[in-house]
């Protein structure tokens, strides 16, 4: 793997009594598309602002290419931030906005012009160079903000909820577009988002934050398949939970049945635990060799085109289990609300967390 461009070492940030970022350590690799994910208010923006230089860490260090930049002012860091509000200069044209960063570097006019022209093409803003920010749509503003930061060729580009202000359809397109752009310019991206799906789609690696603390940092696949704890499991995608206590090779659920699966290291017998399984891992009418099985009543059906989502009330938990059945399976065995179904999943698909 390539080397680390940015190292965050035990960084904390306090605002008075409130700890916005709590002892976070992360390494960001060269040319990586990194996502910072977490619910609103978990300290994502604060962490990003420390990387950009607008806040100084209360504790810890930030190393850029090995040098401590924790106290370097924002205009001296080879790092750029794309603001959540875009923060385009309203009195300047699109071209002037994009040129601004190069003018600050004291580049000659001819170089600025050619690089801005090039960037206008890259970000598909060709015909809009003379417009003012007021005359742009949300998606166009977003691209100007991106162009303005990218043209500086920063070591790391920080993006705070870059797609947050766009509507759902445009977001999907822009997720792919951002990835394409990142690949094309070869710059390390750190993208903040509260949308887990967005993080899964875009990121090479992602970090999950909660209440200022880092819960897990890994590839989207690992975070999804092997969440570090019950919070991450529930935050990323959909998860069915059953509470119980550790007993032998699994968790004894509240109805007395045993849910088998691999246990966390060094967990004591009888300790409180939560068993979890993804909707797409549950099968209806399981074969005999499936380890975990239960039955329940269908309380709701939701048709999603690609699949059918069943809500099944089981004796394992108060909340109905969500099960995804492919359209194909659903056609072969029609189901209705009120039907009783058998369901099950294999031990390898069970995740068990401490409670």
């Amino acid at each position: 793997m390539s080397r680390d461009v940015l190292e965050i070492e035990g960084v904390s940030k306090k605002f008075g009594p409130l700890t916005a970022v709590d002892d976070v350590s992360l390494s960001i690799r060269e040319n990586e598309f990194f996502a910072l994910l977490g619910p609103s208010g978990c300290g994502k923006t604060t962490l990003l602002r420390m990387l950009a230089g607008f806040e100084t860490p209360t504790r810890g260090r930030i190393l850029l290419d090995g040098a401590d930049v924790s106290r370097t002012p924002p205009n001296r860091r080879p790092v750029n931030l794309m603001f959540q509000s875009y923060a385009l200069f309203p009195h300047m044209s699109v071209r002037a906005n994009i040129s601004y960063g190069l003018e600050m570097e004291g580049r000659p006019g001819s170089e600025i012009r050619s690089r801005v022209d090039e960037m206008l093409v890259t970000t598909q803003l060709g015909g809009l160079a003379d417009r003012k920010p007021d005359q742009l749509s949300g998606g166009q503003k977003q691209r100007v903000a991106l162009a303005r930061a990218l043209i500086k060729r920063p070591r790391v580009l920080l993006l705070d909820e870059p797609l947050g202000a766009l509507d759902k359809k445009l977001r999907g397109d822009m997720q792919i577009e951002l990835k394409r752009l990142q690949h094309e310019v070869g710059i390390t991206f750190i993208v903040v988002t509260h949308d887990q799906e967005e993080a899964l789609v875009m990121a090479d690696r992602m970090a999950v934050l909660k209440d200022g603390r880092l819960l897990q940092c890994d590839t989207p696949h690992t975070v999804y398949e092997h969440p570090a704890d019950a919070f991450v499991a529930g935050f990323i995608g959909v998860m069915n939970f059953a509470e119980g206590s550790v007993s032998g090779q699994g968790v004894k659920a509240r109805d007395g049945s045993l849910i088998t699966g691999s246990l966390p290291d060094e967990i004591a017998n009888d300790a409180a635990a939560i068993a979890a399984v993804r909707p797409e891992r549950i099968v209806l009418f399981p074969a005999d060799d499936i380890a975990n099985r239960t039955s329940g009543r269908v309380v709701a059906l939701a048709y999603h085109g690609l699949d059918l989502q069943l809500h099944v009330k089981t004796p394992l938990a108060d909340k109905p289990f969500l099960i995804r059945v492919t359209a194909d399976t659903a056609d072969r065995r029609p189901l209705a609300v009120g039907d009783t179904v058998d369901l099950g999943w294999s031990a390898a698909d069970t995740r068990i967390f401490r409670h």
Binding site: P74, L81, F89, P90, G101, D134
Partner: protein
């Protein structure tokens, strides 16, 4: 306010063949105009009775001759206006403009800095600070001006403080100078500038300055290229206000400038009450009013154009 009205009339006149760019603002004003006229009657009566008629009378008076024993001789003449441009009186106009200009410059620098400081404080603190900045404004203009006499006279507070620090020489002569007049004007009109500058400064998105810093701008460059241009309308409004109020002022130069010191306001006062030359006083006043109106119109037009531009821009987007 001025600008809005003009924009509305422009819109109304072109009503039959509206331009594409006619913005929402105009349309709103046009619809407002079609409301029952009697609702506007009190305001209109006020404006006509206390603004248009007196100004018209002053203007009319300026075209008559002075009577031999004072009073007015109702024969038409342009002599009064010719006299305004006599080097003696034109000189007083120029000096008034210079004093008002200096006072404006100082008031804008201090007022902008004060507004900037207030706008950088915690949100919850800002109304309190603003209240204190504007507080002197609620006391009587004369009292505020007399306070400067207490400060600046030969044995006044300033001299006493100097003495206290061990100064033994002649007391400095500060009162009855151009400097004292400028100080008085700046002090009296500073609250206007603070309020006018505070409005755009407090509305400015702090992320704009941060974006400039992020893109490599120093603090100074960020101020010059981002903050200053975006708050210029407030500065312009405050400046025009101070200048207009200063150039026609006669109380401050009379009290702080001493009798020997004349600004255009004092000259007008003298023509009416001492020299008994009402027509010439009226001509001076008419020219002064014309200068003020022109400045207000230019400022209003510039502000209106700025807001029209953004409104149009939004419509096009």
């Amino acid at each position: 306010m001025w600008g809005r009205c003009t924009a509305g009339q422009r819109g109304a006149r072109k009503g039959n063949k509206p331009r594409q760019s006619l913005h929402a603002n105009c349309r709103r004003v046009v619809t407002t105009n079609s409301r029952p006229a009697f609702l506007m009657a009190p305001a209109l009566a006020w404006l006509i009775g206390l603004m248009v008629v007196p100004c018209g009378l002053v203007l009319a008076l300026a075209f008559f001759q002075r009577g031999i024993y004072g009073g007015v001789d109702y024969t038409f003449t342009l002599e009064n206006f010719a006299k305004v441009f006599d080097p003696l009186y034109a000189g007083i106009f120029l000096r008034s403009a210079r004093i008002a200009g200096t006072a404006t410059l100082i008031a804008v620098v201090i007022g902008y800095a004060a507004a900037y400081a207030i706008a950088s404080c915690r949100r919850s603190l800002q109304p309190v600070l603003l209240f204190f900045a504007v507080l002197p404004f609620w006391s009587n203009y004369l009292i505020r001006t007399y306070a400067w006499i207490v400060l600046l006279n030969r044995e006044g507070l300033v001299t006493q403080v100097l003495r206290w620090f061990g100064y033994t020489g002649e007391p400095p002569s500060m009162l009855y100078t151009e400097g004292a007049v400028i100080a008085g004007l700046v002090y009296n009109y500073l609250p206007f500038v603070i309020l006018a500058c505070y409005a755009p400064l407090s509305r400015l998105n702090p992320e704009l300055a941060e974006a400039s810093r992020d893109l490599g701008g120093s603090a100074v460059t960020t101020f010059r290229r981002i903050i200053l241009p975006l708050t210029l309308p407030g500065i312009a409004a405050g400046a025009v206000f101070v200048f207009v109020l200063s150039i026609g002022n006669f109380v401050t130069p009379a009290l702080l400038g001493g009798g020997r010191f004349q600004m255009i306001g004092n000259l007008v006062y003298d023509q009416f009450l001492t020299a008994n030359d009402w027509p010439f006083g009226a001509a001076l006043a008419a020219v002064l009013i014309a200068i003020m109106m022109l400045l207000l119109l230019v400022q209003g037009y510039a502000a209106d154009r700025a807001s029209t531009r953004t409104a149009q821009a939004r419509e096009e987007a």
